[in-house]
């Protein structure tokens, strides 16, 4: 557990209250920004790899919390961390594995749509999914992906055109 920046006692120990406060602060971050980061990564890399690299990025945030917590755009920063991590998670798959069958006791899925989303270029897919599946604004999407809003706009437009074409055939 990292204690950088955390006040320690004279003998170097960390009090339970300090440790608990540190954990609570990070848990609050993980529940909010961490879940937004997960959506960004799942939209780009699919469910399994997205969860993998999200775990890596959150582990990085935990280890470097003193630095990360001071950032204005934590999700955008950790997205870059996750992109680096993605190189270690290569699956040798031809497309991101979006589910084609619903999980047990879960909502029904649209397998055709999942397949079509999986065939979009990664940035187009991320933009389309964040804007139209998760109802993010273009600005929120741009911040998370470290892209200009105009680029997000282009990706969404092109992605929707491709999706319509794929779903019509």
């Amino acid at each position: 557990m990292p204690y950088l920046g955390v006040v320690q006692t004279e003998d170097g120990a960390v009090s339970d209250s300090t440790r608990d406060a540190y954990r609570a602060e990070f848990a609050e971050f993980a529940a909010d920004a961490g879940e937004r980061l997960r959506r960004v990564l799942v939209s780009g890399y699919g469910v399994e790899i997205g969860n993998d690299v999200c775990a890596d990025a959150l582990a990085y945030a935990w280890e470097h919390w003193e630095r990360v917590k001071g950032l204005d755009n934590r999700v955008g920063y950790l997205y870059r961390v996750a992109q680096s991590s993605h190189r270690r998670h290569r699956r040798w798959r031809r497309r991101p594995p979006f589910p084609i069958a619903p999980a047990q006791n879960s909502e029904p899925l649209d397998p055709e749509l999942g397949s079509a989303l999986g065939q979009l270029p990664r940035h187009q897919r991320s933009c389309v999914m964040l804007v139209h599946v998760y109802d993010w604004t273009y600005q929120q999407t741009a911040d998370a992906l470290n892209l200009p809003v105009s680029t997000v706009n282009n990706h969404v437009h092109r992605g929707l055109v491709s999706l319509r074409k794929a779903l019509e055939t």
């Binding site: 969860n51 290569r90 040798w92 031809r94 749509l113 940035h123 599946v133 990706h155």
Partner: protein, 266 residues
């Protein structure tokens, strides 16, 4: 099922969130979140590398710069060897980092087939890892001419190693001759899906080479086109080194996404 795309996308959320939660729930608590077979794949794959060197050279070697695609378990793809006796050539320095280390091996199992082969020069070389991520075996060499690539294809074809997909991105390092293009198409005639990629480089021969590539894409029924000269300018982010055509990380991802999407679309 709603027919409106926006409505379908909005409805996709619940099922996707369930799938995410299900995947998380399936992971053992307090352990490496990666599943065992994935670690094995990573360990095996990271110990392997595709190496290309000289005319007609395809090889695997033990570095983690380029790797072979595989879904599970030990890599089943054949080791691809130096086909002729050409001495491996050190890549010439460029502004883009080299991604291939020549290291020939000696043997090759018979009957090997490369399902997805991508052959190119230093532009493709920059995106080699991203292409491997999409399941390609990549043979990309700096300063390679179209004729060099043709000889490689002909040699690989002789060995009946060509599979369903071949991507060719050549022509940046000199003019393409009509007869060479014809020979390339002849060599690839039995490949169901050939993807030609136009070049985007400030050279005298760019326009002529791209015209030949356009013509081939319209002449041969198994050939389709990625017009890199047209779409490279739309690459989002910081895509190119100072020379304007070798790929930075943003460009690598964009390039590989385009090629993979073109293959999948067909």
């Amino acid at each position: 099922m709603p027919t409106d795309l926006n409505e379908r996308l909005a409805n996709y959320r619940c099922g996707l969130d369930d799938a995410i939660a299900s995947d998380l729930a399936s992971r053992p608590a307090n352990s490496d979140h990666r599943q065992p077979h994935r670690r094995r794949v990573f360990a095996v794959a990271s110990a392997m590398v595709i190496v290309a060197a000289g005319i007609g050279a395809l090889a695997w070697a033990n570095t983690d710069r380029l790797t072979s695609p595989s879904d599970t378990g030990p890599i089943e793809h054949p080791q691809i060897t130096i086909i002729d006796s050409a001495v491996p050539v050190e890549p010439e320095p460029t502004t883009a980092p080299a991604s291939v280390v020549p290291a020939p091996l000696e043997t090759s199992p018979p009957g090997a087939v490369i399902d997805r082969l991508a052959i190119g020069d230093s532009v493709m070389l920059g995106a080699a890892i991203e292409l491997v991520d999409f399941g390609f075996v990549v043979d990309a060499v700096e300063s390679r001419t179209f004729v060099d690539g043709l000889e490689t294809i002909q040699t690989v074809n002789t060995q009946t190693w060509l599979g369903d997909v071949v991507v060719v991105h050549l022509g940046s390092n000199g003019p393409i001759d009509d007869s060479d293009m014809t020979q390339m198409m002849d060599a690839l005639a039995e490949v169901p899906q050939v993807l030609l990629v136009t070049i985007d480089m400030p050279r005298d021969w760019t326009m002529g080479n791209n015209r030949l590539i356009y013509d081939a894409a319209t002449t041969y029924p198994n050939v389709s086109l990625v017009d890199w000269a047209e779409v490279s300018g739309s690459c989002p982010g910081n895509c190119f080194y100072e020379d304007g055509f070798h790929l930075r990380p943003d460009g690598k991802a964009y390039y590989a996404d385009l090629i993979n999407a073109a293959i999948e679309d067909n």
